[in-house]
């Protein structure tokens, strides 16, 4: 099989179309524009709809319409545009409308810059809009994962009737790597709840409005149960060299790639280092962290931000192990060398090796 060299942003669109996406409504922004451009090229060729909206606000509300009509649909943007989309994402979560939002991050706050940053973790993972809702968040770290997780995002969106965010940093969106796609294109059946302008769907209603307090509470409890189900079935993380790791490096997206290189170098230097890379940021792979507590002595979270993922790691560990943090922001990347130096310094501080008490604790 011949793989193709392709940008992450292009892979998202091709994978989306293979997964049955037939609607794209968006607004240009660096570094996500290639997604719109690729969608504009291919969607009309497959009987789909591409429309550049007047704003991100309009774009996400167009998704609300397309999704109401039972069409698999997506948009893409970056921080400032995603901020504007929060209205629609909240409405779609409330109205239980599936869609995929590719969030190709850049620097912030405000206009920030167009460099790659991971400062939008909270916005994506903690629900950036109003109300008791969450959206599943998938974090690819390669072009292949841009393709694979896009397909998964559409599946999850339909399965849980929710917007799903594909959270990728600008590097993953912009870089080219070999990629292969699913062999067959699919288009799912129109869901029964959709409003399509036919006799069969005439009685259907799409709304996020629940006037009674009991009604609304029941509704958000139902959403909550959905998230719990997603947590049971969809939580994903990659572990590498963690079996006997004393130092566990934690990072997602492009940082996961850097940490892989660091892990390899640290191992070569005789340090017991491993990598835990969350792939679903919501639901969060809490159990992976808890499983590692018995061996690991310290967790090191590396981010291209001043520290957001690190909060979830601390919650997952609930004080069981210390958590160190290395972050860079503004478009600066914690380089392989910088992380390696951090790890060496940490390993030095950890000497001597485990005391008997620690040993005993580790094997409880």
């Amino acid at each position: 099989m011949r793989k193709q060299l392709m940008k992450g942003n292009e892979a998202v669109v091709k994978s989306a179309i293979l997964a049955g996406c037939r609607g794209y409504y968006g607004y240009p922004i660096t570094p996500a524009s290639e997604i719109a451009e690729t969608a504009a090229e291919y969607l009309p060729k497959v009987g789909g709809e591409f429309l550049q909206a007047e704003s991100e606000v309009a774009a996400i509300n167009m998704l609300y319409g397309a999704s109401s009509a039972g069409v698999r649909c997506m948009t893409a943007s970056s921080g400032p545009g995603i901020s504007l989309m929060q209205e629609g994402i909240s409405y779609m979560a409330g109205a239980e409308l599936p869609c995929v939002v590719a969030h190709i991050t850049r620097g912030g706050p405000g206009l920030g810059n167009i460099a790659s940053e991971q400062g939008d973790y909270h916005q994506a993972v903690k629900a950036g809009g109003n109300g008791c809702y969450k959206t599943p968040v998938l974090a690819p770290y390669s072009v292949q994962e841009m393709a694979d997780l896009t397909a998964l995002a559409f599946e999850m969106a339909d399965r849980y009737r929710t917007p799903v965010v594909l959270l990728a940093d600008g590097f993953v969106g912009q870089m080219m790597e070999p990629v292969e796609f699913q062999e067959k294109a699919t288009v799912p059946q129109t869901p029964r709840w959709a409003v399509t302008g036919t006799a069969e769907t005439r009685g259907n209603l799409i709304t996020s409005l629940h006037m009674g307090s009991d009604d609304l509470e029941a509704h958000v409890r139902h959403l909550e149960a959905n998230y719990e189900l997603a947590a049971q079935n969809e939580t994903r993380a990659e572990e590498w060299m963690t079996e006997d790791a004393e130092i566990v490096l934690v990072g997602y997206g492009i940082v996961g790639r850097i940490l892989k290189a660091v892990t390899a170098e640290a191992r070569a230097a005789g340090l017991r280092v491993g990598l835990l890379r969350p792939i679903t940021l919501f639901p969060f792979p809490t159990r992976n962290f808890q499983r590692l507590v018995s061996r690991a002595r310290v967790f090191v979270v590396v981010e291209m931000s001043t520290g957001q993922l690190v909060e979830d790691v601390r919650l997952a560990l609930n004080g069981a192990r210390p958590v160190e943090f290395l972050g860079r922001a503004g478009g600066n990347v914690p380089s392989h060398e910088e992380v390696m130096a951090f790890v060496r310094e940490l390993a030095g501080r950890m000497q001597p090796a485990m005391t008997r008490d620690e040993e005993r604790m580790a094997h409880v």
């Binding site: 091709k14 497959v46 709809e49 007047e54 509300n61 870089m175 294109a185």
Partner: protein, 485 residues
């Protein structure tokens, strides 16, 4: 029964079929609307329902209800219902219609919704000529939230947020939505009607039906603005409010047809049929292909490499393409590859650079912070990255002489005026390929056939392919002839 002239009575005006018999979505009082006595919404609902009945489109109709008093329109209309965010109904309606071309989509909006928060959405839906029908209910005030000022509030009209009355100096003038949208080319039909008296009401019903009919015929965007009473917030009796529409509102908002292109409008074309599913991978250019004959054998011959390449120069020097050809050729040769364009704070003042990795092993980090090959296409790029080159690595520099202060004892350097060489080949733009040729010869990493295949895939113009091939060959030759080892 006596045998008179009048045999029996039959219904001539009754509840429209497009209304639910009982409003089950409503919590209580399911036999009547939630609107206040004398509210125009109910009257307009009836006009719309009757138009739907008469056009026989109940099954096809999708009503988009707004935020405002008519947020609950879905309680009443027995059609497909979608409730939208404040002001966004035209955006929602746009995608509904584009997704389901046979549906009849109505965007029902109040004046706060449409003319304030949704002013962008209505303007652009109208400007695109979306084949939808918009019912714009203008009562010159925000009613649901208790009577705040709207863009349509009349000059001098009091509201809870203009307690002394609207002043032109402070809030500007009442927004004339129909007139404004009529300046656009795309809309097909725009009319302002009113609920001020019997005659006006009859005209309003006609206009709404016409706007629906336009969509059924596929003509495009129609909007009917209805001046509508709000007795409760206006603090008037219903009859008095009706008269106020007629006597006062109408002076600011004159009635009439502002746009009618129904005669010359084009019918929206049907969309091309979707291609068969099995053809889609091919349309996307991602159909699975087997490896060409002999490729596997060739790949087995490729030697073990681990290239960490940084290419840097000015924009327009072909920095990114150099890297792309290298990565594409590596892929063709069966290697693991990655290509990452310069990105972030370093991407300033026209400089450009990229990271390329080629390896037999899976690539961990695609970021090259310590290159073992640096291709520096100009002096600033050399100065920026020279110190980062791994000891024992290579620097290929485009310049007459290597700057003395950049000299390192622990790296190999090939410094030549590559742009000059390219110029001699016929085009200075080929300097990148001359440098790539030198790099390929130096590393011996890739078979020529993979480089040829990459060039063909990436360079579409045959004239440039020919030039680039010569440039690559020249670069290889320059390296072979150099004393650098």
């Amino acid at each position: 029964m006596s045998s008179g002239l009048i045999a029996e009575y039959e219904v001539v005006q009754g509840k429209a079929k497009s209304f639910y018999d009982t409003y089950e979505r409503k919590d209580e009082l399911q036999h009547q609307t939630h609107y206040c006595p004398g509210c125009g919404h109910g009257t307009i609902h009836k006009m719309l329902a009757r138009a739907i009945d008469e056009l026989g489109i109940q099954d096809r109709t999708i009503l988009v209800s707004p935020v405002g008093c008519s947020v609950f329109a879905y309680y009443y209309f027995d059609v497909g219902n979608v409730q939208a965010a404040h002001g966004r109904a035209p955006a929602v309606a746009t995608a509904l219609k584009r997704s389901r071309r046979d549906s009849i989509v109505v965007s029902y909006q109040g004046d706060g919704d449409l003319s304030a928060i949704g002013s962008a959405e209505i303007l652009h839906a109208a400007n695109r000529g979306e084949n939808i029908t918009v019912i714009f209910v203008n009562n010159a005030i925000y009613s649901m939230t208790g009577g705040q000022f709207a863009p349509t509030t009349l000059l001098g009209q009091k509201s809870t947020t203009t307690p002394l009355g609207r002043s032109a100096q402070h809030e500007g003038y009442p927004l004339h939505v129909s007139e404004l949208l009529a300046t656009l080319e795309a809309p097909v039909y725009i009319e302002r009607v009113a609920l001020g008296d019997n005659k006006q009401i009859a005209q309003a019903a006609k206009a709404i039906k016409r706007a629906m009919e336009n969509q059924v015929k596929g003509l495009g965007f129609s909007l009917i603005e209805v001046l509508s009473p709000c007795p409760t917030v206006w603090k008037m009796q219903p009859v008095q409010a009706q008269q106020w529409v007629h006597d006062v509102m109408e002076k600011t908002f004159p009635l009439g047809v502002f746009k009618d292109r129904t005669k010359e409008a084009h019918v929206w074309p049907a969309r091309d049929a979707a291609p068969p599913l099995e053809t889609i991978p091919e349309i996307l250019g991602v159909a699975h292909e087997e490896l060409p004959e002999g490729k596997a054998e060739m790949r087995a011959q490729v030697k073990d490499v681990d290239l960490h390449v940084r290419v840097a120069g000015f924009g327009g020097q072909g920095v990114l393409l150099l890297g792309e050809v290298l990565a594409e050729a590596g892929l063709d040769a069966g290697l693991e590859v990655s290509w990452l364009p310069s990105y972030g704070p370093e991407m300033r003042s026209g400089t450009s650079n990229c990271h390329v990795r080629l390896s037999k092993e899976p690539i961990d980090s695609p970021l090259v912070t310590v290159p073992n090959v640096l291709v520096a296409m100009n002096e600033p790029s050399l100065r920026k990255f020279d110190a980062s080159v791994k000891p024992g690595g290579w620097v290929i520099y485009n310049g007459d002489a290597f700057p003395e202060d950049c000299v390192r004892e622990d790296v190999h350097v090939l410094a030549l005026p590559f742009t000059q060489v390219a110029n001699e080949l016929g085009d200075t733009r080929a300097a990148n390929m001359v440098m790539l040729g030198a790099l390929l010869e130096m590393t011996g990493a890739l078979p020529q056939e993979s480089v040829d295949a990459a060039l063909k895939r990436l360079v579409k113009n045959p004239r440039f392919v020919e030039l680039d091939e010569r440039a690559l060959a020249r670069g290889r030759e320059l390296y072979r002839n150099s004393a650098v080892r």
